[in-house]
Structure formats: structure tokens, C-alpha cells
């Protein structure tokens, strides 16, 4: 199982010293599939790296550096577009980690620009972004209505010149989810950056990342999310984090994330039965970069929908998507 090897290499970089060629191939394929190759590249000590692996890791680091630069530029452009609105714009996820020069940002793969803004400012934000060149990715009346009625974000937009996506969030989880984190409190306690943008407080960064990983979604990219959490944890005061998680209704999730992060990337932790299932899902990746444990992966996919909305609504949603030709991967 190469996902297990990847986790071991991140936890104890010196352990790669004993790898043979097939081990390296598996490690590299799994790290690429989990989008952790540049993170791994930063972790490993060059003394343990064979000559033929060195350029692969150098390329990965250069890619991550370019992505960080691009992400900061996108954030800068969004700041400019929203400048006149007098709205707090909070950077989320990868862009925030890079903007805040956090350990979680080192080698982090960054896809879209994610921002959080107050819900009552959404119409003005949407208008300003469209005026600055962002447009809807796909025009679909059902998806659009679905996002606006039930989701925690606008449908994704893409910039017409730069081809980069932006996700505008007004809260952390879908409105139909069972937990309702306090987005207003997150925005109120956000930390200002030099360019007028904000990032979440040390505690809220963890709560947000945990909500994304364990209370939403199907754990695709979960190893990367858990690595983020592992890197974010030392910045937070444990008591303050527990209190904050309680306030957002995510105390259990944050506690589980701590156990998993410590078990996989740290000194080890006692795991519950449910933790072990999640760990099995997270490690479902072989040495060719393929997803394994299909039934378990599918079960987590079903769970992600179950978490997102009540059963009857879920049934109606899946039926509509099925008729439109969507099939689970």
C-alpha cells in the first residue's frame, strides 16, 4: 500500500533511505495522486534521495512555488475587484496558508481561489466580480438554483483572461448540513493581512479545514487535508481550539481530526473503530497511484451526500442529476 508508505515518509523522512526503485516509484505515484509530491519534496533530506529522483522533486517544488505565486496574484486581483465594497474578504485554504506564510503552505497544491465573505454582501460581491471579468463556469439552471438555495458558496466562477477559478463562500458547510458553524464569528475574528485581505484565526483555520474534510465531501484528497490540519495544529491553543470547535458545533470532528493527524503524521494516538475506518479510506491508494478499496470509497461517497442533505431531498437531487447524465466516478 503506497499511501501508507507516503504517510510514513512524511512522518519520518529518514525512512526513505532504505527504499528500492520499486518503492520509490510507488511513493512518487502515490504522492502525485494525493497532491502531496511537493510537500514530500520539501520534507525529504536530499542526502536520502537517489539521483534519478532528485529532478522529479525539484520540478515538484518549482511547480508549487509557481502555484503559490499565481494564487497570491489571484487573491490580489480579487482584492482589487472588491476594493470599493467595504467588505471583509477572508482567504481560505491553500491561498490563506501561503499568504500567511504558514507551514501548511509549504509545497501546498493550490487549485482555486477560495474566499469567505459575509452572506449579506454576496449580491454585491457577485456583481463586482462579474464586472471585473469573472464569469460562470457552466450555465445550468438546476445547478445554479441548487447552489443558491442550499450551498455554502456561489456556483464556481472563472476569470475570462486568466482562466482561474474562484469559489465565493458565505459559510463553511452546506446550509443543509447538520452542523451550522458560525461564519459571522469567523469573519469577525479574522486576522488582517498587509494587502487588506484577511485570513482566519489559528483556531478557525483548523475548524474550517476539519469541517471540509470530515463533515463534508467524500475524503478525496483527505491525506492532503489531514496534512494541512497536522501543520495547522501547533499554531492553535488547545483549550481555545476546543472552545471554538464547540461553538461551531464541530467539537467531535475536531477531536477526531486531532487523533487522525497524530496517528498518521505524528507520534501516534489511540483510535476508535470509526477512526480506523476513516484511516482505511484515507490510505486507499496503491503503488500505481490507483484508488483501491472500491466499496469503502463508494461508501464514503454515499456518506458525503448523506451528510449534505436530508434523505428525501437527497433522493430528489440524485434523481435529477442521474437524468442529466451524471454518474459517480
Amino acid at each position: 500500500m503506497s499511501a501508507a508508505l507516503l504517510v510514513r515518509a512524511l512522518r519520518d523522512p529518514a525512512c526513505v533511505a532504505g527504499l528500492d526503485a520499486s518503492g520509490w516509484n510507488g511513493l512518487i505515484a502515490a504522492a502525485r495522486a494525493e497532491r502531496l509530491i511537493a510537500t514530500l519534496a520539501h520534507r525529504l533530506d536530499s542526502a536520502h534521495i537517489p539521483a534519478s529522483v532528485r529532478p522529479i522533486l525539484t520540478d515538484a517544488k518549482a511547480d508549487a512555488a509557481r502555484e503559490a505565486q499565481q494564487a497570491l496574484w489571484e487573491a490580489d486581483r480579487a482584492a482589487l475587484a472588491l476594493d470599493g465594497l467595504d467588505v471583509r474578504v477572508v482567504l481560505l485554504k491553500g491561498t490563506a496558508y501561503v499568504a500567511g506564510a504558514l507551514a501548511a503552505g509549504q509545497g501546498r497544491f493550490i487549485g482555486d481561489l477560495d474566499i469567505l465573505v459575509p452572506r449579506d454582501a454576496m449580491p454585491a460581491v457577485e456583481k463586482a466580480l462579474i464586472a471585473a471579468g469573472w464569469e460562470w463556469v457552466k450555465e445550468d439552471a438546476y445547478d445554479d438554483a441548487y447552489y443558491r438555495q442550499w450551498m455554502h458558496e456561489l456556483p464556481p466562477m472563472i476569470h475570462v483572461d486568466r482562466d482561474r477559478m474562484i469559489d465565493v463562500h458565505h459559510t463553511v458547510l452546506p446550509l443543509t448540513a447538520r452542523q451550522t458553524p458560525d461564519a459571522a464569528a469567523m469573519i469577525a475574528d479574522a486576522i488582517p493581512m498587509a494587502n487588506g485581505l484577511y485570513i482566519l484565526s489559528a483556531e478557525d483555520r483548523i475548524v474550517h479545514s476539519v469541517a471540509h474534510m470530515l463533515a463534508d465531501g467524500d475524503m478525496q484528497g483527505g491525506l492532503r487535508n489531514l496534512w494541512d490540519i497536522y501543520c495547522l495544529l501547533p499554531d492553535a491553543d488547545p483549550a481555545a481550539l476546543a472552545a471554538r470547535a464547540q461553538r461551531h458545533g464541530l467539537a467531535h470532528h475536531v477531536a477526531q481530526a486531532r487523533r487522525l493527524a497524530t496517528a498518521l503524521y505524528g507520534d501516534g494516538a489511540a483510535l476508535t473503530l470509526w477512526d480506523r475506518l476513516v484511516r482505511m479510506r484515507l490510505l486507499a491508494r496503491d503503488g500505481w497511484g490507483r484508488e483501491t478499496r472500491k466499496a469503502l470509497v463508494f461508501a464514503f461517497y454515499v456518506r458525503s451526500h448523506w451528510l449534505r442533505m436530508p434523505p428525501l431531498m437527497l433522493a430528489r437531487h440524485l434523481w435529477t442529476k442521474w437524468r442529466k447524465g451524471h454518474r459517480p466516478q
Partner: protein, 287 residues
């Protein structure tokens, strides 16, 4: 994966895995003269996997992916498995290669100096490179020319030459059947057959050369030679590169150097013979 092979082509090493034996067996035969790198650490992993569980056995259908993949890649029939493997390698290069500026171009070399030919699919650049490789030039590649941004040299990437439709017969006549792969009939791009480069192309695949002439060939037109402005050449080459934007400023500087140093012409030609005469003359005059 159940069946696997590792191949090195120029500076890049590929680990190719397949759910079926046929594509790997074909690669093994056609790449027999290439360096033996079995089990080496690879730059890229390519996977030929079934589009679904059922499609492994019933009307087998290949999904091409790997370290880098496209979610909406069209599935291919197992009969075209060799083409799928070649496309899988191209995909990794196009999306993942960072060590050189990648130009969608063919290239051949003579006396240490390189002729680069770029154009869209169907322009005749592959066929021309393959045939020049039989006429005193060293074949360097038919798909990607690798521009080294430090030295300005072009490096070879001499995989199998992919020939389409009418070009198949022309090249098979010139090189003989023993160097040709199986006919892959009715692919999405028409009929395709692969040709093994000559032994010298494989033996010298680590030796680059300085570019001396750039041509934009176009097959199927009255013979004509046109000059192009440097601005147009530059723009066309950025469009012919999959990693120009990714490589950033060094790519801009390296391509600027290439465009200002290398003479270039667009050539139209009605036949292979006409093209050889034009290439010889332009090489004589400009290179």
C-alpha cells in the same frame, strides 16, 4: 498492475502499466532496441486501465491515465492499445515535463546542427522527419523537440514515429515492413502505424545539437516558400508549446533567443520529393 514495462526515451523514463498483456507485448517488441531500464525509477507512470470493471473483459475499453491525466479522455478499444500507450506517454510529457521547453515539432540533425519542423497534425512534419532520417539525417523525434533553456540546444525525444493514413504506405515502402508496427485501423485519427527509428537515432538519443533552421511545413499545396516575421514565429511557437506558460520567464528568454538566432521559413509542398529538394536548398542557403 498486471503487465508493465519501463522505457527510457531521451531524458524521460516511463513506467507503463496495463490491465491487458497485448499493449505491453507490442511495446516490448517495438522498443526492443532501446536501453534496458527494466525496474528503474521512472519520471512518469502511465496506466492503461479498464473504463469499468466490466470493460476489462467484455469489449475491452482502455482509459488512458497516469500521474497526469484528463478526466474526459476518450476511451479506446484494446485493438488500439499500442496507440493508447503512446498517447499516455505524450500526455505525461505535455502536462508534466518541466526540464525543457517542449515544442510540438519534429527534428532531425546533420553535423551536429538541427532542423526543427513544426506544424499541426497533418502538416507532414512526422513523415518528413521519418523520411529524412532515411536520407542521411539523424532522426531526433516526430512529436516533441526539447529546447534546453540553458544551452539553447535541441534535445532528441525519438519515440516510435506515428504515421497516419497515406503516410503509412509511403514510409513502409521506404523502410521495409520489419521496422513497422501493427496497423491500427480506424482510430479517432484514421489509420495509424508506428515506425521504429533507425538504430543510430536510438543510440544517440542523449546527444542534442544547436538549432540551425526552423521550418513550418504544409503538405498538399503547390510548392512555395514564405518568410515569416519574428513576432509571428514567436507566437506560433508559444502555441506549439505545452509548457511555455508554466516555465515562465526562462521560457520567454529561451524562446526569444531561439527565434532571433534561428532562420525560419514556411514551406508548402505537394510531394515528398518536392519537400526533400526544398529542405536541401534551404539548409544549404540558410543553415
Amino acid at each position: 498492475m498486471r503487465h508493465a514495462i519501463t522505457l527510457r526515451i531521451g531524458p524521460a523514463t516511463f513506467r507503463i502499466g496495463s490491465a491487458w498483456s497485448q499493449p505491453i507485448a507490442q511495446l516490448r517488441r517495438l522498443y526492443a532496441a532501446y536501453p534496458d531500464v527494466d525496474g528503474a525509477i521512472a519520471d512518469f507512470t502511465v496506466r492503461l486501465q479498464p473504463t469499468s470493471l466490466l470493460r476489462r473483459f467484455l469489449r475491452p475499453s482502455i482509459f488512458i491515465t497516469g500521474d497526469h491525466g484528463l478526466a474526459d479522455a476518450a476511451p479506446m478499444s484494446l485493438a488500439h492499445g499500442l496507440l493508447a500507450a503512446e498517447m499516455g506517454m505524450n500526455l505525461q510529457m505535455a502536462l508534466g515535463w518541466r526540464r525543457h521547453l517542449l515544442l510540438h515539432a519534429s527534428s532531425v540533425e546533420k553535423n551536429g546542427r538541427v532542423l526543427v519542423m513544426t506544424g499541426e497534425s497533418g502538416s507532414g512534419k512526422s513523415t518528413l522527419a521519418a523520411l529524412l532520417g532515411e536520407r542521411g539525417w539523424r532522426f531526433m523525434g516526430d512529436e516533441f523537440a526539447l529546447l534546453d533553456l540553458q544551452s539553447g540546444a535541441i534535445l532528441p525525444f525519438p519515440r516510435l514515429v506515428s504515421l497516419k493514413n497515406q503516410a503509412i504506405g509511403v514510409v513502409a515502402d521506404a523502410v521495409g515492413d520489419a521496422r513497422m508496427g501493427p496497423l491500427l485501423a480506424a482510430t479517432a485519427k484514421g489509420d495509424i502505424r508506428h515506425m521504429m527509428p533507425r538504430a543510430d537515432a536510438v543510440a544517440r538519443m542523449d546527444q542534442g545539437g544547436m538549432p540551425a533552421l526552423l521550418l513550418f511545413p504544409r503538405f498538399g499545396h503547390e510548392a512555395a516558400v514564405r518568410e515569416l516575421g519574428q513576432g509571428e514565429i514567436f507566437m506560433r511557437l508559444t502555441q506549439a508549446s505545452t509548457n511555455y506558460v508554466t516555465l515562465g520567464e526562462p521560457a520567454f528568454a529561451g524562446l526569444t533567443r531561439f527565434v532571433t538566432a534561428v532562420p525560419a521559413r514556411a514551406i508548402d509542398f505537394p510531394s515528398g520529393e518536392a519537400a526533400f529538394a526544398m529542405v536541401d536548398r534551404l539548409w544549404e542557403e540558410l543553415a
